[in-house]
């Protein structure tokens, strides 16, 4: 009995793995349940250990090749630098959270926090000073080292330069002399040509000689001095922290919501008190007007929220949201149209030219078109009823839905609609004749034939199409966001590219992984759905 429940659990886990496509972990589960250990070990080595080793060696290769491939924008970041940039992005997000909570702290809590932060700020200020001094010291060191190396080269360079200048002058004089003699007929013209040619050769040689010195000097100058880099890094991180503390101080004090509210309230109270003792009607009117305004500003403050900077988490959320909006738009169009295409040959013939022409169009073109077309629907985006409605919905209010999101989603939909449409049409058109006969024998009406026979039978292909659509949509979205600067991962990566900071490259690679991993999960999700609707038993049998 115990055995059978254990088996049941085992098969449930195995089934889950199978449906979600993680069959590689099968042997691990089987091993845990003590099933044929030897066989499982062999399978683990074959399907887990070797692939893991391969991935690790890829990472190792990456970290080996990275520093060896120099670009003008710096070295190719190694995995640890990319990981560092992940952490930096996380820190940025974390700090935004802290600032938000600071902004909303009140009463004794706020004061305690203020005191704490002020103390930390003091300490950090000292550290910053020390770090700054260290940087200066290292800079001097680097300079001294460089000078020592460069001085002889430079001296040589200068002496060569003057030497060559003299030589050039001498050659010029020689050429002048020869040309004179040629003009007087004492020498052949070819002598002059030869002299000029030789001069050119000599000049080139000298120039390349000088350049080689110059580039050697440049080389030395551009060499990195590790201690200085470290000191700079250290200084940057401390100064960054100090700056963060300074901002926190502001948010805990005069930019704090409740501090501002108190102030506005006390101002209001003051006016109210003044109003009761106002001397003349004119004064009273003036004060009353002020009081009303103060009241308004209290009301406004009450509704104020912390304006958070955009973090990578927010961008990721927004991208996922956008891709689903686009995907559902695509599905909403593709499935009915695909069904009609599959059912009716004439309709299919009508659609074929449209599908064939628009399917290969680049997302960039669609984006530009939608940007113009969709923009026309939102002449005043801030007061648009639909946008206001969407932005007041509970879960998605933080995503700030704007026309940019909508036309990015439209672009996604436009590119994602084709695979779903074509597959749906195919699924419907290739319905088994026997199933059609069943429907005929049962005299099913159009709708029940559609919903009981046609759609269920086309469903596996429909989902296969939707899966491709979602994949296409996700790829398109990143490009669309980058181009339209609609918030999302695409914009994040584009902004990073534009920033051109030392972390740019690492951040771009980080986004590469983020996009890849999310894409992977989206695909997995679709596989699972596809398996649930597939009736050939492929997915549900263990």
């Amino acid at each position: 009995m115990a055995e059978s429940t254990k088996d049941k659990i085992k098969y449930r886990i195995l089934k889950t793995l199978d449906v979600s496509g993680f069959t590689a972990f099968d042997p691990v589960i089987r091993l845990i349940f003590g099933e044929e250990p030897q066989k499982q070990f062999a399978a683990i080595v074959k399907y887990l250990v070797i692939p893991a080793f391969f991935v690790l060696s890829c990472i190792w290769f990456w970290s080996w090749i990275g520093p060896r491939h120099k670009t003008k924008s710096g070295e190719v970041p190694t995995p640890d630098i990319v990981w560092e940039s992940v952490q930096i992005n996380d820190t940025i997000a974390e700090r935004e959270k802290v600032k938000r909570s600071d902004f909303q702290l009140k009463g004794a809590e706020r004061e305690a926090a203020l005191e704490q932060v002020a103390r930390e700020y003091e300490i950090l200020s000292e550290e910053v000073k020390a770090a700054k001094a260290l940087v200066a010291e290292k800079e001097a060191e680097k300079k001294a080292r460089e000078e020592k190396l460069i001085a002889p080269l430079e001296a040589k360079y200068e002496s060569l330069k003057s030497e060559y200048r003299d030589a050039a002058k001498a050659r010029d004089a020689e050429i002048a002399r020869i040309s004179e003699e040629v003009s007087e007929g004492k020498l052949e013209a070819s002598a002059l040509i030869a002299a000029i040619r030789n001069d050119g050769i000599a000049t080139d040689r000298e120039r390349s000689e000088l350049n080689s010195y110059k580039s050697r000097i440049d080389e030395i100058r551009s060499q990195k001095y590790k201690p200085l880099d470290q000191a700079r890094k250290q200084y940057d991180s401390v100064a960054d922290k100090q700056f963060f503390m300074k901002t926190r101080l502001e948010f805990l004090d005069d930019r704090n919501l409740y501090v501002k509210l108190d102030e506005a309230q006390s101002e209001l109270n003051e006016y109210m008190a003044e109003l009761s003792t106002a001397g003349s009607a004119k004064d009273a009117l003036k004060i009353a007007k002020r009081a009303v305004r103060a009241e308004e500003s209290v009301a406004r403050l009450e509704g104020q929220e912390y304006a958070s900077a955009v973090t990578i988490y927010h961008q990721t959320k927004r991208s996922i949201f956008t891709v689903f909006v686009g995907f559902f738009m695509a599905a909403f169009v593709a499935i009915p149209v695909g069904i009609m295409c599959g059912l009716n040959k004439i309709f299919m013939a009508c659609m074929t030219p449209i599908i064939s022409v628009f399917k290969p169009v680049s997302p960039v073109v669609w984006l530009l078109i939608f940007q113009i077309v969709v923009g026309a629907f939102f002449p005043d985006p801030e007061n648009h009823a639909l946008l206001n409605f969407l932005n007041n919905l509970p879960l998605i209010s933080s995503l700030e839905i704007n026309p940019a999101l909508i036309f990015s989603a439209c672009t996604v939909a436009m590119c994602a609609v084709w695979p779903a449409l074509v597959n749906t049409a195919l699924g419907v058109a290739s319905i088994d004749q026997d199933h059609v006969n069943v429907a005929r024998v049962l005299r099913l009406g159009f709708w029940s034939r559609l919903f009981k026979i046609v759609i269920p039978s086309a469903l596996p292909l429909v989902f296969a199409g939707l899966r491709i659509s979602l994949g296409v949509g996700w790829m398109v979205l990143i490009a669309a966001e980058a181009l339209s600067s609609s918030d999302g991962l695409g914009k994040f990566v584009w902004d990073e590219y534009q920033n051109g900071s030392s972390l740019t490259f690492a951040n771009i690679i980080m986004v590469c992984f983020v996009v890849g991993i999310i894409g992977f999960f989206l695909d997995r999700m679709m596989i699972i759905l596809q398996r649930f609707v597939s009736f050939d038993g492929g997915g549900t049998s263990v």
Binding site: D218, D240, A307, P381, S502
Partner: protein, 448 residues
């Protein structure tokens, strides 16, 4: 003021809390979106947000990076943005209808100077050969384009044209680069009613590249030089791909650079909000140019810290720091003090001068963006249509009352025209009241 007491007892940090909060204006709109391009001269907008100056006016502001100047302008026109960091030429060009037509106005000049012209290493070496005086680590400034002229001619003989980059057809950079080239007798090309690219008669072709892509475009060899704002010149030095040869400070001392532009319709509908925004911007400008007794800019390092955040300019702290704290690297070995490289408040720079508008109009006419000759009065009329000193003065008046600025910070009684100046790289006199005369005093360019 209980708050102030608490402050004194709890923290010893020098953060000023003003007890002089004036009454807030009766705002028509309190949630605003401003756009900017990733350049250090967007600083006043960013600082006004990050230091809470907008909040003090009761404004909730979102500051959003824009991919390029065209889209930024489009977003201001279509209402996606309430206002933006703009090239001085943009409101003017939009108002007169060169490019996208829309009435854009400005009541605030964000900064002076701040651009540089960078050439690729190869061009720099050839320039050094042409003019041996340049062949040192610290050549004498200003560097004129004279050493570039032989290179251009040589290329023309081979049937090629030197390619250079600027950021927008109506940007200061375009006019400065043209000015610099023309001052050395190199023809940068005319715009005509058919030729919207400005290649007619060109000896050097100037094409549009968004600022952040400049270094990459230079590196890939598509252009041999560019004129752009910071940090993209310093970036070229840091990456070792080019050499900044001159700054626009040398081309025209204290020239106007960016403005804060809004849609005229928006300005009409939200007059008080507009004043509140300008108030916050004036405070930000003043904060940025704050100096101690020794004349050292005290807040710039903090500003750089803020600007280097990835959601603002995002370049490395060290790169932005150079120009923002008053230094400029012309080469790795040539670091010079340039305290006025970025001016955000000094010299009454934030006032929306009509004379600035007139200069840009003369340049548009000089290079053919304005195709027809115009009378002198027209220049004055257009400038008055675009620049709104009344809004600026109203905001300044409030700030003066509230004690944020002092009397001498603002040119209260000006007619909006700066005095004539000849502080240009070629020494030609610019009298804003005589635009036609100014046009005719140049060798290269349209004359009326």
């Amino acid at each position: 003021m209980i708050n102030l007491k608490k402050w004194i007892t709890t923290a010893s940090v020098s953060l000023a809390l003003s007890s002089l909060h004036g009454e807030q204006l009766d705002l028509e709109k309190d949630e605003l979106k401003f756009g900017f391009i990733k350049l250090t001269d967007c600083a006043p907008i960013v600082i006004a947000k990050e230091k809470g100056f907008f909040e003090d006016e009761g404004l909730q502001v979102e500051v959003i990076a824009q991919p390029n100047w065209k889209q930024l302008l489009d977003n201001v026109i279509n209402g996606e943005l309430d206002g933006a960091h703009m090239l001085s030429g943009q409101p003017i060009a939009a108002t007169i209808g060169f490019g996208t037509k829309a009435h854009i106005v400005t009541a605030y000049t964000l900064d002076l100077n701040g651009n540089g012209i960078t050439v690729s290493n190869a061009i720099w070496e050839q320039m050094q050969e042409n003019d041996p005086a340049l062949d040192t680590d610290t050549p004498a400034h200003p560097i004129k384009a004279d050493a570039l002229a032989p290179i251009v001619e040589e290329m023309l003989e081979e049937g090629e044209k030197l390619q250079m980059g600027m950021v927008f057809p109506v940007s200061t950079h375009n006019y400065e680069l043209r000015y610099w080239l023309a001052a050395a007798g190199i023809h940068p090309g005319f715009y005509t009613s058919e030729d919207k690219k400005g290649f007619t008669n060109a000896q050097v072709e100037l094409s549009v590249t968004p600022p952040p892509q400049m270094p990459a475009t230079l590196e890939s060899g598509n252009i041999s030089g560019y004129c752009v704002g910071e940090p993209w010149n310093q970036q070229a030095v840091a990456k070792g791909i080019g050499v900044p040869v001159t700054t626009n400070y040398d081309i025209w001392k204290n020239n106007p650079e960016k403005v804060f532009g809004v849609n005229a319709k928006w300005a009409k509908e939200n007059p008080n909000t507009h004043i509140a925004v300008v108030k916050a911007l004036i405070r930000a400008g003043k904060w940025l140019d704050e100096t101690d007794e020794d004349g050292i800019l005290v807040n710039r390092e903090e500003a750089v810290r803020i600007l280097s955040q990835p959601n603002y300019v995002g370049a490395d702290f060290d790169v932005i720091k150079n120009s923002m704290t008053g230094y400029f690297y012309f080469q790795k070995t040539d670091k010079r003090e340039m305290p006025d490289f970025n001016v955000f408040f000094k010299y009454h720079s934030t006032y929306p001068w009509y004379s600035d508008g007139v200069w840009f109009l003369t340049q548009m006419r000089r290079w053919g963006q304005i195709t027809e000759p115009k009378p002198a009065e027209w220049y004055d009329e257009v400038a008055k249509e675009v620049y709104l000193p009344e809004v600026y003065l109203e905001a300044a008046k409030h700030l003066l009352e509230e004690g944020y600025i002092s009397e001498e910070d603002i040119p209260w009684d000006t007619d909006g025209y700066k005095p004539a100046t000849d502080e240009f790289i070629d020494g030609v006199l610019y009298d804003p009241k005589d635009p036609i005369g100014y046009l005719n005093s140049h060798k290269i360019g349209n004359k009326d």
